[in-house]
Symmetry: C2
Subunit: 535 residues, 2 copies
Amino acid sequence: MQDDNCTFSMKRRDLLRMIGMSGGAAVMYQAMSSLGFAAESTFKGQPKLQGAPKNTSVLILGAGIAGMVAAYELRQAGYKVQVLEYNHRPGGRNWSLRGGDRFTELGGFSQHCQFDEGFYLNPGPWRLPYHHHGILSYCKKLGVPLEPFVQVNHNAYVHSANAFGGKPQRYRAINADYRGHVAELLAKSTQQGKLDDAVNKQDQEMLLESLRDWGALDKNLAYSSGIASSNRRGFDKDPGGGLSARPIPSKPVALDELLGSRLWSNLSASEIYEFQTSLFQPVGGMGRIGEAFGRALDGVIRYGAKVTAIQQDEHGVTVSYEDADKPGSTQKVHGDWCICTIPLSVLSQIPMNVSAAMTEAISAVPYAASVKVGLQFKRRFWEEDEHIYGGITYTDLPIATIGYPSTGFHSSGKGVLLGAYIWGLHAFEFTAMTPEQRVQKALEYGSQIHPQYAREFETGVAVGWHRSPFTMGCFGLWSEEARAKHYDNLCQIDGRIALAGEHASYLPAWQEGAVTSALDVIERIHQRAVAEARA
Amino acid sequence: MQDDNCTFSMKRRDLLRMIGMSGGAAVMYQAMSSLGFAAESTFKGQPKLQGAPKNTSVLILGAGIAGMVAAYELRQAGYKVQVLEYNHRPGGRNWSLRGGDRFTELGGFSQHCQFDEGFYLNPGPWRLPYHHHGILSYCKKLGVPLEPFVQVNHNAYVHSANAFGGKPQRYRAINADYRGHVAELLAKSTQQGKLDDAVNKQDQEMLLESLRDWGALDKNLAYSSGIASSNRRGFDKDPGGGLSARPIPSKPVALDELLGSRLWSNLSASEIYEFQTSLFQPVGGMGRIGEAFGRALDGVIRYGAKVTAIQQDEHGVTVSYEDADKPGSTQKVHGDWCICTIPLSVLSQIPMNVSAAMTEAISAVPYAASVKVGLQFKRRFWEEDEHIYGGITYTDLPIATIGYPSTGFHSSGKGVLLGAYIWGLHAFEFTAMTPEQRVQKALEYGSQIHPQYAREFETGVAVGWHRSPFTMGCFGLWSEEARAKHYDNLCQIDGRIALAGEHASYLPAWQEGAVTSALDVIERIHQRAVAEARA
């Protein structure tokens, strides 16, 4: 199981080494995959909590996805539910920043989003894999319409400042060329008898036939300039109609140049389980899910409530909180049980009388740094000039990612890009800047890929998650050692307190981790409550 | 150039051999790719036809995409334009069959589509690649809204009746396993020094690093059961939240079984240029484009007009036609020039005084057989039960393809599948059946993949293109020899007559071929007309 565990929580020094080594998006995706970003949900339908004891109350801390799933289901099962939420809105990291919205960071930086109506940035999650059945089921239940999210765009770019003279390459060309070269090398090895020990003769024949098709090889089993390869990577002159319509093939990148460019490191992202088709996004922004939950839980959530202490005894849990805008005026609220979804980064600073094991677990999980920048432009030049409709450009510049909107395709007028999605060391650098500087830097770097930036830019917003007062980081970054030692202790019900959230899951950072964690914990709380009532 | 040409028109006997050999969708996709389905458009913006001579008339035969593009642009340039169209609707093969529509085939089979409101089958084209700039530009110009078309769905199936006991396999698993095995074989060859002649030592190091990432290999460079491979192919038990959330990896298919299954032959479809992301479809059905053109050309198109003769002299072109519903009442119409977009399969039967070279070209292109079946079901079981949202299942059963709708995702209620998309010999077999039998057969075969068919089926329609009275086939199937000998002769202006359509392009079957062919021909007609007016 060592090997398995490794993928869901890699050694921290390995992670940092990787990030330090090249710092690009590709590496971060690889790291995220290794950290367990890539998995289908265990969700098997809504829980059936039957026979809830009368007048049993559950206090829920945090109106993010985990807290609201717990509140929604427990209330439905007959529990008395109250939710305390720090922000003045539901959703937590499920959040869309829209024109008119204000956001103040730790340290005081305040932003007033100037996007035109209809445009948004999702500072947190921005996509829903088809196999995240839990969060999708709540979209259906709450009437949140979905639209496709384009993850892989063959016509978007892969870019390295140090390769091809800094000129962005089309994903389709690098993808086709790597595959073609691999197919050719293996086909030639096979023909030369070098696979005789590994593959029997009959399978070798089939292997050659398959490599020719799969790798777009020519009749000599070479990956060469011609129609076969251009039908994958694109043409120099495209075929058309009428006279003078004959196409001119393009020329593949040579293997040594391709390997040296390291652009191949962007190719596996499209193959990772949650980046596979089909993905979705809520129409109007990811925040629509949190907003819908908030409406469904109208009257149940107390907003602007900053939790200052969590104390349990054998009868229940008392939570102290103060008005987030008027510190000092402490109030208390009581529940028979408490489900706490406050991020560990914040929770570790709140007095709470749980076991030493849970306390240690809470302190064992550092939070990942991440920054997102949204940029509004006067026109959708990526579509109009470059024929990029949705999807992602990967670069080894600090901005790491340019995300093109998966909505309003082919329309005239303005658009908002995800101008940067930064992880690791660069995220700390960007977080240290003022929001204006972050936007400026995103524009400078992005101009190396899209020179239209300078002329078309209108306004931007930038969220550095380590300055977010309600999370103080992006998500719980489990190390392999920490998960082995602390994960079960974190998830156990401790007296009358239990934790939930993406940090209490094997799907870190994903909303599905929050949903499945909440469903797991409410079933266990329910069992305890029923047993207690019977006793 | 032999090699290049080869891809756009393969030897007919090779094509038939391929189809005969396995008959599956995979092979047909390979064949279609080879035939030139895979290419970006040469469209470079709308033409600028300046200085059209006054009172010059152009007669256009056929109100499909080619004919309507020609009519739209020539009218805009100042020409007097008239279009004759056999059907009682615009669009030609750009067509959506909706509830209430009637369609009568050659031979008399008549169908009355019973789909519920909002559902449709596109019997002809059903997707718009992002690089087909010509057809996309008309969507924008005519205000036809687009939505994403999902081509590749990692969670759809690849299926062979003769492999895995007939059990459908998820695309993601076969895709990951083929890639993983290829990466492992090449990595091991590299490690064993077998690539020393082909790749220098430094590149070998980089190749190994890239293969590990790209192929999801483990630390021993093996493609093995574990988190790395399951993060591509899927898990036996998926990770989740809370306790008992630890995932259980799945087990890859062994190389010999994978090769023997031939399911690898479905993997290249997703890599072909026009099946790459992003693709689109018009909201409401492909027919929305033809309908929009029809509205834009209101009053210009005479519907229900069956052309019976095309005769030119040095002054102009006279076209005889009869009412398609009342044969015998011949009428005549005259134009200074004529652009004929009638499919060659039909045109070859119409008297027309053009050169022997063009006449031979018209007769040199057989038309591909194809059948599409649309099936309406009571519920979207492919989404609800199997988590397949859009995309395609490939099978070597005669139905070849099951296409899932790329609209209404995640909604409750009914849905319409593309239940069969058949090419080659099986298409002739299906065309020979009654429409009811075709639907029945599609249900029988499809039930092997989706056992829900029997319980959920409501109604279906089936279009066999060889029985379509306005095309008598699906598209012009150029052989390599025919293209070399006849293509230019087909596209030359012959006196005052010129041909246009997908058959006059290097993009056979694609609407973009029709658009670029029409734009090419109107520029040449315009030059002639201007020169004539000056002379």
